[in-house]
């Protein structure tokens, strides 16, 4: 019997939501690590029982938790994230140099092949790797030490490395995205990196062709067509057909092209989902209507998905890591809100229902498809 396990990180703990393949009846377990911020929880594609969670607090710092039984029990593993060498400086909000300082792990990306291999994207922006199940972490300093690094500036939420994509089509190729530096690509397993931001236009950057400085909110890729990338930028939904070498805008008829998450249907590489947000100063849906927008054409033409979602007086946000899809035959789509709701659609977005309504603010949503 197939099933799904939804891994939810919130401001005050982690929750594990499980259902069979019908995705109608849900069991909710948690809070795990109650009172701690859980920026991300993600399972290993190679071993679905292996989960990693980023646990942090302003008081007590960063921990990484690992489960080897699908989230029933957890054990803390390594939490030493030391930048390699002398970290140097990036730009602070006022333009002055500011030392690189570790704050937290935003995103954990387990290898598709090896349950013990996992990458971590951190604030201040850096990429770390563990090959022993999270016990020890080593920085891949080539990204932070890119020649443009001293000019990177934090976004409003901090200078976070929030997206890591391991390219299934080309061994050694990976992508990372940083707010507010932009998107980067490596072809040597993270040793060296190049910015891939050509075609992005960001108001607030005087140079239209700036190599870095873009506030990329999220990248998404379909495993069957890894040369195509989708991006939700601060403003603008973008697409690249050449592995990030160039980008073009596909915001089309969206009511707002500001937003945070973007994801791709599990079986249809041209079907893309975003959640438009009114603006960068009004982090809530336009008109108080919570609408997921779906494009079946790889962008430009978007349809509002509203069935089962609140269409009045809704002023929540959906954060960048808070949307995911399962890979059942009828693709399931999931997202969590800052109001604590986790919505699920078992029919690729045609209709929605809340799995749970009153969690702490949701920071991240991942889903595992279980056989």
């Amino acid at each position: 019997m197939s099933g799904v396990r939804v891994l939810v990180g919130t401001r005050k703990g982690a929750f594990v939501l499980t259902a069979d393949g019908k995705r109608e009846q849900w069991d909710v377990s948690g809070p795990h690590f109650g009172g701690w911020e859980i920026y991300h929880v993600k399972g290993s594609p190679a071993d679905p029982d292996r989960l990693y969670a980023s646990q942090s607090s302003g008081w007590f710092g960063q921990l990484i938790q690992r489960s080897d039984d699908g989230g029933a029990t957890w054990e803390p593993v390594g939490n030493q994230f030391s930048y390699q060498g002398v970290p140097g400086t990036h730009q602070w909000y006022d333009g002055t140099p500011h030392p690189w300082e570790f704050a937290r792990v935003w995103h954990l990306e387990p290898s598709p092949d090896d349950p013990d291999l996992v990458y971590a994207g951190v604030e201040d922006a850096g990429l770390f790797r563990s090959a022993d199940g999270g016990k020890q972490w080593q920085e891949l300093p080539g990204l932070r030490c890119h020649s443009s690094g001293p000019s990177w500036q934090p976004g409003a939420g901090g200078m976070c490395l929030h997206t890591i994509i391991l390219d299934p089509g080309k061994p050694g190729r990976m992508f990372a995205a940083i707010s507010a530096a932009g998107a980067f690509r490596s072809d040597d397993s993270g040793e060296t990196w190049q910015p891939v931001n050509r075609g992005l236009r960001s108001e607030g950057i005087p140079d239209d062709d700036a190599e870095v400085g873009h506030c990329v909110h999220r990248l998404a890729m379909h495993h069957s067509r890894p040369s195509v990338l989708y991006m939700q930028k601060h403003w603008d939904v973008m697409r690249s057909d050449d592995s990030g070498d160039s980008w073009h805008e596909v915001s089309g008829n969206l009511p707002s092209d500001f937003g945070f998450p973007i994801d791709v249907h599990a079986h249809e590489p041209d079907t893309v989902y975003v959640v438009p947000i009114k603006s960068d100063s009004e982090h809530f849906p336009p008109e108080g209507k919570l609408r997921v927008y779906r494009s079946r054409t790889g962008g430009d033409e978007w349809e509002a998905l509203t069935t089962g979602l609140p269409q009045a007086n809704c002023y929540v946000n959906v954060l960048r890591d808070a949307m995911a899809v399962d890979s059942l035959d009828s693709c399931g789509v999931y997202f969590g809100t800052t109001g604590g709701q986790v919505y699920a659609s078992a029919d690729a977005g045609d209709s929605w229902a809340p799995i749970v309504r009153d969690l702490p603010a949701v920071l991240s949503v991942e889903v595992q498809t279980l056989s």
């Binding site: 009172g35 302003g58 008081w59 007590f60 939490n79 030493q80």
Partner: protein, 98 residues
């Protein structure tokens, strides 16, 4: 025997209830107490003081004998009452945040 009181979240992490009792070799200082604590409970490394710099985390405070010792030098001797086990060394999460 040195008595240490942890804040609730760190008691959960360390899987302890109530006070922690530690043997501390040599002079009893913030540093030697925390070294002994982290040796006994490695999961606490990085939660009280920064792993790289050894500095106290900003929202952690150290109290003992009705005094705030947070700004004392880490190598300074703790009060005799702590060293003799008459009073606990309190590790406190500052009242901040939500």
């Amino acid at each position: 025997m040195i008595r240490v009181v942890l804040p609730a979240h760190l008691r959960t992490l360390a899987k302890v209830a109530g006070e922690v009792e530690l043997d501390v070799a040599g002079q009893v200082t913030q540093c030697s107490v925390l070294d002994a604590l982290e040796t006994r409970y490695p999961v606490l490394r990085g939660t009280i003081r920064d792993r790289d710099t050894g500095r106290r985390r900003a929202f952690v405070r150290f109290f003992a004998c009705e005094r705030d010792l947070s700004h004392e030098q880490p190598g300074a001797p703790l009060p005799d009452a702590v060293a003799m086990g008459a009073e606990p060394f309190l590790i406190v999460g500052a009242m901040a945040g939500g």
